[in-house]
């Protein structure tokens, strides 16, 4: 019966499971068969780690997988993992354990999960990966304290303490191990209790407390069943007894116990125990003085250590290789990632270039559009301005033209077409302004009597000329008279064709004497002018009447220029009536004269004759 003592919790667990499953699946004969098979395998495993069990375990696993019995599947995985661990196939053992864990973690079975963590921790301990082992133990502890049902807690706590204590011992923290182990015990499981006691004794021995160790060993010895069933436990028990005897100086007892234990380890893989036993024997023999035996066991010890070291070395090598492979894979991955990143970067750069080109193109087009727009706008503005200028010029030209036309029109409307003299229309447009300016001038030079003379001229017997010589001859006479009038007047005087054969002269700023002179000159010029009509010389005379403006009576009533003009007309009429080819010019009013203006006009002739109106004439007036 060769059995790794690490295996017992699992075997116990498996048998428990078998019973459980038997109850649950009594209806299914297939499940029952499987459970029986597991029970059988578990019993066989208790006998020995028989490699021939592996095919059956695999069959069990396959079938439980098909039936969806996940617990059984996980158990079978653990079972195979345990065998593989025992034979040093740590790698696959680790894989199997992890497979079992992944199955169980989906099941919400915290106690099973905690047990797998404990199993994994043991695996890591045998690989001397203490840090990982510690982490796994902590996970198991968390599950045990938080999730596991109350009826399982005590059992699992004890198991946890066993493995945590073992880990402390392996790391060399013996007092810490004692601390945790001394608080743990399992009343239900005698075997577990024995294991706890043995591990505790082991810690005591490491710090030289052999008496405490002996007491614990004695308690284990009292519980024989566990020792009888479990080979490894038995070997360990004897080994520790031997160590305790050696420490106590009881060399013979130490040798007996050690030899006893050693004889049981032959043909097993308990190299660790063998090595410690051989060392113990060597120590005991040396202290007994039997150096030959001491040397023999020392040599054996050295060989076992060598084998152990080789095993360790291989494990470490495998770990290193695994690490190296992982590192190499990571490196390859990182190279690939870098490559990918580089390509991605290049792609991005390329894309960016394209984008930039697009952008540049868009900018260019936009810029060109803008330039074109600005240019177009400028051109439009320029054209517009030019057009405006042309328009303005045209408007100015038209305005000027219009002004010119207006001027011409005005000139035409103010001019008599036959004589070229201004007409009555012109006279009425300027006379008010002339009268006002004359009034101002009159004020300025008030010392001498300068007046504005309104003088009316009419050609004598003009009708006769028209009738005798035709209208063309009459027109010629009119033109000649007009020319004479222009020559005989100043530039400042107004010469107007008053209508028919009648002309009006307005001569500002003139004394009566100067007026008579001017009028006489006109009369004479007309009388003497050689009018030629139809190649025939004719004589034409004219009659003239004039009156000064302003003119006031005694009452201070001033006459308007219209009234003055009427007085001049009266004078003309009088000259025509009394003489022809003569003139009558009103000089002023005799004082005191206070007749109304209407009378002055209507009674003009009489008033002159009475001497109430002062007038000059070119002839001798008839009384």
């Amino acid at each position: 019966m060769k059995l790794h003592w690490f295996a017992f919790p699992f075997i116990w667990l498996l048998s428990f499971e078998v019973f459980g499953n038997l109850n649950n699946s009594s209806s299914s004969s297939q499940k029952e068969d499987l459970n029986k098979m597991l029970g059988h395998l578990t019993t066989q495993l208790k006998e020995d780690y028989d490699l021939n069990l592996l095919p059956q375990i695999r069959v069990l696993r396959e079938q439980s997988k098909q039936l969806g019995e996940k617990r059984l599947q996980a158990k079978s995985l653990l079972l195979e993992g345990l065998i593989r661990q025992h034979f040093g196939d740590y790698k696959n053992s680790l894989v199997l354990h992890n497979d079992a864990l992944s199955i169980v973690s989906e099941m919400n079975a915290p106690e099973l999960e905690a047990r797998i963590y404990l199993a994994l921790a043991q695996l890591e301990m045998s690989l001397e990966r203490f840090r990982f082992a510690q982490q796994l133990l902590e996970r198991a502890y968390t599950l045990i304290t938080k999730s596991v049902s109350a009826d399982q807690v005590e059992q699992l706590r004890a198991e946890y303490a066993l493995w945590q204590g073992t880990l402390h011992i392996m790391r060399g923290s013996y007092r810490q191990a004692l601390g945790i182990l001394s608080r743990a015990d399992s009343q239900q499981q005698k075997e577990l209790s024995s294991k706890l006691a043995l591990t505790r004794a082991w810690a005591h021995l490491y710090i030289g407390e052999y008496a405490n160790a002996s007491r614990l060993l004695q308690s284990v010895a009292n519980e024989k069943t566990a020792l009888d069933k479990n080979l490894k436990l038995r070997v360990r028990f004897k080994l520790m007894n031997a160590m305790a005897y050696l420490q106590a100086g009881q060399f013979t007892n130490a040798i007996d116990n050690a030899n006893d234990a050693l004889s049981e380890t032959f043909g097993t893989r308990f190299l660790n125990e063998q090595s410690i036993l051989q060392n113990t024997l060597a120590g005991a023999y040396a202290q007994l003085g039997d150096f030959e035996q001491a040397h023999l066991y020392l040599k054996r010890f050295a060989m076992t250590e060598q084998a152990l070291n080789l095993q360790k070395r291989n494990n470490k090598l495998l770990q290193l290789e695994a690490q190296y492979t992982l590192a190499a894979q990571k490196q390859q991955l990182s190279v690939l990632e870098k490559d990918n990143a580089l390509q991605a970067q290049q792609l991005i750069q390329h894309q960016q270039k394209i984008d930039n080109a697009h952008l540049a193109q868009q900018r260019g087009v936009l810029g060109m559009l803008l330039v074109a727009l600005v240019f177009g706008f400028g051109y439009w503005r320029w054209q517009n301005k030019r057009y405006l200028t042309v328009l303005k010029q045209q408007v100015a030209e038209r305005t000027a033209e219009l002004a010119e036309r207006n001027k011409r029109l005005q000139a035409l409307s103010f001019t008599d077409s036959l004589t070229g003299l201004n007409n009555r229309h012109y006279f009425f447009s300027v006379i008010d302004a002339q009268v006002n300016s004359s009034a101002l001038t009159a004020h300025a030079i008030s010392s001498e009597k300068h007046e504005m003379i309104f003088c009316l001229l009419d050609i004598d017997h003009f009708k006769k000329v028209n009738d005798s010589y035709g209208h063309a001859a009459g027109d010629t006479v009119l033109q000649s008279v007009a020319d004479i009038l222009k020559q005989c007047t100043r530039d400042s005087d107004l010469v107007i064709r008053w209508g028919g054969e009648e002309f009006l002269m307005v001569m500002p700023n003139m004394t009566h004497a100067e007026a008579t002179e001017a009028v006489e000159r006109v009369r004479r010029q007309v009388e003497c002018f050689p009018f030629v009509v139809n190649e025939q010389a004719i004589q034409v005379t004219c009659s003239i009447g004039f009156a000064p403006y302003p003119l006031s009576n005694e009452g201070g009533n001033s006459l308007t220029w219209e009234q003055v003009l009427e007085l001049a007309d009266n004078g003309l009429y009088m000259a025509k009536e009394e003489s022809r080819n003569a003139w009558v010019g009103l000089r002023g009013l005799s004082r005191p004269f206070n007749a109304p203006t209407e009378q002055l006009i209507s009674d003009y002739k009489n008033l002159i004759h009475n001497g109430q109106l002062l007038a000059s004439t070119s002839y001798e007036p008839q009384s």
Partner: protein, 297 residues
Amino acid sequence: MKWLIIVLLVFCSSTTYAHNQLVVDIMSSENFSQRYSEFLDGRSPLDVQDFHPTTKGSHIEIIEMVLLQQALFLGGETREVVFNPKPSVNIIEFSDMIAGDSLILARSVWHEDIINYRGSLFVSEAVVEFGDYEAGLYVAKRNVALQNLPKEQLEQLTVVANPRWRVDWRALNNTPINIVSFIGPWETMLNMVETDIVDAMLVNFSVSEDLLLTFEGREYVPIQNLKMMLPDSRHFIVSKRHPQGEQIFAALNRGLKILKKRGVLRKALVQSGFINHLVSDWQFINEEMLATTRVIQ
């Protein structure tokens, strides 16, 4: 005849002289005699009351030589102590002591190392109690970044250690520190630190004021505020097989108890800098190894 008498006289006197001496073995490789003489400076080891160091090197070995003599004297062993250099190998294996060829060692040993020989060796009261032995993680002085490494980042640290120094090995195994195993001279291990093959090495705190360790012109300093407890006690051992073993051991243990009672042991360890006041408030890296319920044997 005259010659014979002279020879006899010389022989007798020398044997009488030899009988009046207590031979204590000492490692020939660890020849501390010069430093020992310097420390005594003409004093008798029995008169030493002040254990303050006079050298910068490790001081505990000198103190132990003095304490051993004081303990023996107080225990009733008044013979003069003579140190006898022996090859290191013999002493490490304790074979001479087990066989009774050697009576007593001048240096204390780790309890762990003699557990299996307690049938053949008397183990004295602890000179250094469990938990009192402290050491620092020494790094090269130029390696400024490591000097203030916090405890949480110790997993980044790589330390060289000799697996044969089992106590050191165990202490380091209970930390997150990475260990590089090296079996070879101590000097080479220091050199490994110097050449950055490893980051640090576990060394007793230096007795110098700034804890600086100088070796062959190179300087090393401990990582600040972190210290390691070496988890074992140290004891003097006496051969059980040696005819005088029992008597000497009885005297030694008596004397050690007196010294302990008078507080001389503690004083010696504190004054010598072995229990270094400079690191008294430093944090233990492996304090879990301390916090346990001690089971009394």
